[in-house]
């Protein structure tokens, strides 16, 4: 779960990481008022979206006076911001963060993440921080170095940072250890500060912060739940999630009902290879009941683009084929629109599942293999694109 900049900054500031004085504004008028309350020679106006790449996309502007803050905020709020990390539709800007501009001597990059192999907290650091860092690191990953923070003392961290050309490495190391506390105590999966700047008057300051929280750990962070709720899932995806289904909406016209993430990805590959366009990705969790599954199918059927439903199920464990078939039958019984179903059922209770689909008189065509079923779906959906 990704937090926005102002939320991330609030969180790390609590642990003593220095951030510029700033406030959140939801209208241009508010932004101007806030600027008048902030003591600064210049201001930054920053679009609040949950994706990086804002600087290069015009989502961060400098303004000399509070009235120019108004103009900058007016141009951003209500617009969609497209960056390298948002996809082509971009992300709507609902608020801007207004803060004091800082005189930068040099920009750095620091991030904390768990090493996927050892689960140790790792520090990633680079002296090439700033808006172009992401491109630079893609061209030359060598500009970023890693350091294992497990049991590391401030002096060891300082030595590592010194090796990455960080000035005043002792203070920077203390800052990193403060970040590490925030990282661990809040179950973060990523804490990234880019840029971490060394100011012209010799201070360290976090000019941006990005936090990802572990959704699986929110049961012990009731205090973070409000932040976490405002996630980027669509309304339908949220309903599905609450019903034990991982749903990702796509822009195609073939509805897909699959149990398991791996089979879901495989199905998506098969459909696209055959020239089809999936309307969604679905992964039914093993704990899902047929009522849960019906909710998921409702969501797919309510998408007017969907011209057929591909039921690709390998029954096993607690998700057996008849459970899925029951779910589909429930959804079809109450649906206004009943598009053709292309079914390929295998594994536990496959015959039983097919019997349910036929006896409930659903518009079903049954295929033995995924390839045959895929081809039929593509034909029903209007042929190869």
């Amino acid at each position: 779960m990704d937090l926005q900049e102002f939320q991330s900054k609030e969180l790390v500031a609590q642990y003593g990481v220095p951030v510029p004085q700033g406030m959140l504004a939801r209208t241009a008028e508010q932004a101007e008022d806030m600027a008048r309350k902030i003591t600064a020679e210049r201001y930054m106006v920053k679009a609040q979206i949950k994706a990086g790449g804002r600087g290069l996309a015009g989502g961060i502007k400098t303004a000399a006076t509070p009235s120019l803050v108004f103009d900058a905020a007016k141009a951003m709020i209500g617009q969609s911001l497209v960056t390298q990390q948002t996809g082509t539709t971009g992300e709507p800007v609902e608020a801007v963060y207004v803060e004091a501009a800082i005189d930068i001597d040099k920009s750095f990059y620091v991030a904390l993440a768990l090493d996927p192999g050892t689960a140790h907290p790792l520090l990633l650091a680079s002296s090439k921080g700033g808006v172009e860092f992401e491109q630079s690191a893609q061209i030359d990953p060598g500009i970023v170095q890693q350091f294992d923070l497990t049991g590391a003392s401030a002096s060891k961290v300082a030595k590592f940072l010194e090796g990455q050309d960080f000035p005043d490495a002792k203070t920077a190391a203390e800052l990193v250890l403060k970040m590490a506390r925030a990282f661990t105590q809040n179950d973060m999966t990523l804490l990234e500060i880019n840029p971490l700047v060394h100011t012209t008057d010799g201070q360290w300051m976090a000019l941006d912060a990005k936090v990802s929280l572990d959704g699986n750990a929110m049961f012990r962070h009731t205090e973070l739940q409000d932040l976490a709720q405002a996630d980027h899932m669509s309304e339908a995806e949220k309903i599905a999630y609450d019903n034990n289904i991982n749903l990702v909406q796509l822009d195609g016209n073939i509805g897909v009902v699959v149990n398991g993430a791996g089979l879901g990805l495989a199905t998506n590959d098969l459909l696209v290879d055959a020239g089809g366009r999936p309307a969604n990705f679905m992964d039914i969790r093993t704990t899902a009941t047929s009522f849960d599954i019906a909710k998921g199918v409702d969501l797919i059927l309510s998408d007017p683009k969907v011209s057929c439903l591909f039921l690709n199920v390998h029954g096993g464990g607690m998700t057996v084929c008849d459970t899925v078939a029951e779910g589909v039958a429930f959804a079809y019984a109450r649906a206004d629109r009943k598009p053709a179903i292309v079914a390929r059922l295998a594994g536990q209770n496959a015959e039983w599942g097919l019997r349910i689909l036929k006896e409930r008189r659903l518009p079903v065509e049954v295929f033995e293999t995924m390839k045959e079923a895929t081809a039929r779906c593509v034909a029903l959906a209007g042929g190869r694109r």
Binding site: K50, A51, G52, Q84, Q85, T86, G87, A111, A113, L114, D115, P116, G117, T118, A119, H120, P121, L124, F133, A137, Q138, P141, V144, D187, L190, E192, K210, S212, D214, N216, F219, R220, L250, V258, N259, G260, A261, G262, L263, G264, L265, A266, T267, N268, D269, L271, V272, D273, F281, R285, T286, H314, G315, G316, G317, M318, A346, G347, M370, K371
Partner: protein
């Protein structure tokens, strides 16, 4: 002899009295696996599904000789359950629990350092040696003893590929799901190493997907040794819409993770046979056999 588990494996179940624990223990007993005990703090001395229940893992091991565990406890208790089983020095620990917090795995990984325990999972479908031992949640209807070793990140695809191999009368030595979480116990490389030394395994099928760098590590390992057994890989997610990322364009790329195309290329360069799609694995096996 298969890998990690066989006829002689004696299994205890942590969290046996819950809904899932009861369901999967019952299924394993029906399959004929050597399930000998259950663990549930506070219920020691009672029985469940005719198995003796103990308060802790160490006692269950001492009294029954159990050397493996199936963990089916809620997510917030999963790390403690894994650590308890590792500290009791069980040979194999399978955790099927989903949604375990990542920071909890830091403690679990620390317990694993220097330990001989093979941890499978969390969020794994488990391990199956057909007709000998099932520790997990996978269906067994289509399982058949034979020469194919399967190691996978996906439960549903393992079932699918298992059925496809059985359909061409090529059974399985052992199938292992390493789990769908970013941080987990045994990885592809650990399983490939075990399959390499296993006389019962002639061909290894590796089922990977986008995310993480298990496939890259496997490719690196396979390129570095004389593996001597053919490996077939199915990598799914080629057409998955690029996941919305935050922060650096894939902070994970620092750790060397690539997209599906990159993973396939790395495996191909290491001499692995690539299955075109989910229905091509059996065909690949037949080609190797002819």
């Amino acid at each position: 002899m298969a890998i990690f588990v066989g006829k002689d494996t004696k299994v205890m179940v942590q969290g046996i009295t819950g809904r899932s624990g009861t369901f999967y223990t019952d299924q394993a007993l029906r399959y004929g696996s050597g399930f000998v005990a259950g663990v549930r703090p506070g219920k020691g001395g009672s029985t469940h599904l005719d198995l003796p229940i103990f308060d802790d893992v160490a006692t269950a091991k001492k009294k029954t000789g159990a050397n493996a565990s199936l963990i089916v406890v809620p997510a917030h208790r999963a790390a403690d359950a894994m650590i308890e089983a590792i500290e009791a020095e069980l040979d194999v620990v399978v955790c099927v629990t989903e949604r375990v917090p990542q920071h909890d795995m830091t403690k679990v990984k620390a317990a694993l350092e220097g330990s001989k325990t093979v941890l499978i999972g969390p969020n794994s479908q488990g391990i199956l040696t057909p007709d000998a031992c099932k520790i997990g949640v996978m269906p067994t209807k289509d399982a058949l003893p034979g020469p194919i070793g399967i190691v996978s990140r996906s439960a549903s695809l393992t079932s699918e590929i298992l059925a496809q191999t059985s359909a061409i009368s090529m059974g399985q030595s052992t199938t292992i799901g390493i789990g769908g979480d970013a941080i987990h116990g045994a990885g592809f490389v650990d399983c490939l190493k075990a399959f390499k030394d296993d006389d019962d395994t002639e061909i290894v099928v590796l089922i990977g997907e986008i995310g993480g760098r298990e496939e890259e590590d496997a490719a690196e390992y396979l390129a570095s040794v004389r593996y001597e057994k053919p490996v077939i890989a199915l990598i799914v997610g080629r057409h998955a819409p690029q996941e919305r990322r935050m922060g650096h364009a894939g902070t994970l790329s620092f750790f060397g993770a690539q997209d599906a195309v990159g993973k396939i290329a790395a495996l191909k360069a290491a001499g692995v046979h690539i299955a075109e799609d989910a229905e091509d694995v059996a065909h690949q096996i037949q080609q190797l056999k002819s």
